[in-house]
């Protein structure tokens, strides 16, 4: 079935460096994508979103890039900080049993080294 997946399960990055987290999606009809951050013991927290009519969107220290040609999504974190250590999920909006729903990718754990 349709799915959203990630290339790298774990990313170790030096504090201050930039992080790039990748995500592949398979549903070409998806029109909306979200990145979530999940810290240990907490629920996912919204980071940034992007609609399919855009190829780039920037937030505070984060940038999401969307390449619809190859169905690829990435999250860039600038100047990674210890507080960025978490698991990051991409999610896509697809049509499900109760209408539109979010489908989550497998997750990438980011470990920030001091």
């Amino acid at each position: 079935g349709e799915s959203v997946g990630l290339h790298l399960p774990t990313l170790s990055v030096q504090e201050g460096d930039n992080s790039i987290i990748n995500c592949a999606y398979s549903n070409s009809a998806s029109d909306y994508f979200i990145w979530y951050k999940q810290e240990s013991g907490k629920g996912p927290q919204f980071i940034i979103d992007i609609r399919s009519n855009m190829d780039k969107r920037q937030g505070q220290r984060v940038t999401v890039l969307l390449n619809k040609t190859v169905k690829h999504l990435s999250l860039q974190i600038a100047a990674t900080q210890p507080g960025d250590s978490a698991v990051y999920f991409c999610a896509e909006n697809i049509f499900g049993a109760a209408g539109n729903k979010l489908t989550f990718g497998g997750g990438t754990r980011v470990l920030v080294k001091p």
Binding site: F46, A97, N100, K101, T103, G107
Partner: protein
């Protein structure tokens, strides 16, 4: 954004028993969602619960195993019935829409 709380935060249960998880929101919301997050894995949608109607379950999830109540616009419960060790997961509720969702802290369930 909404503030969402869940009870219990964690529990250890015997196989064959049932556990009811509560989700409380600080504002009225139309749509609530229940997800399962198995150890080290991503989130999988169990069902969508709208107030005043039956919950809609995703493929692979059935009402007999995961009955859901939605008595009002700020509250929902998910019951995990006749538990087995395979039900050990984090269960999360969320509110919002398919485009914007806010998550509770989750309930960590261990079945022995």
């Amino acid at each position: 954004s909404a503030v969402i709380s869940q009870k219990p935060s964690r529990d250890i249960c015997q196989r064959g028993t049932s556990l009811t998880i509560q989700c409380q929101v600080d504002s009225q919301v139309t749509m609530m969602f229940w997800y399962r997050q198995q150890p080290g894995q991503s989130l999988t949608l169990i069902a969508t619960a709208n107030q005043g109607s039956e919950a809609t379950y995703e493929s692979g999830f059935v009402i007999d195993k995961f009955p859901i109540s939605r008595p009002n616009l700020t509250f929902s419960t998910l019951t995990v019935s006749n538990m087995s060790p395979e039900d050990s997961s984090i269960y999360l509720c969320s509110v919002g829409t398919a485009y914007e969702q806010y998550f509770g802290p989750g309930t960590r369930l261990t079945v022995t």
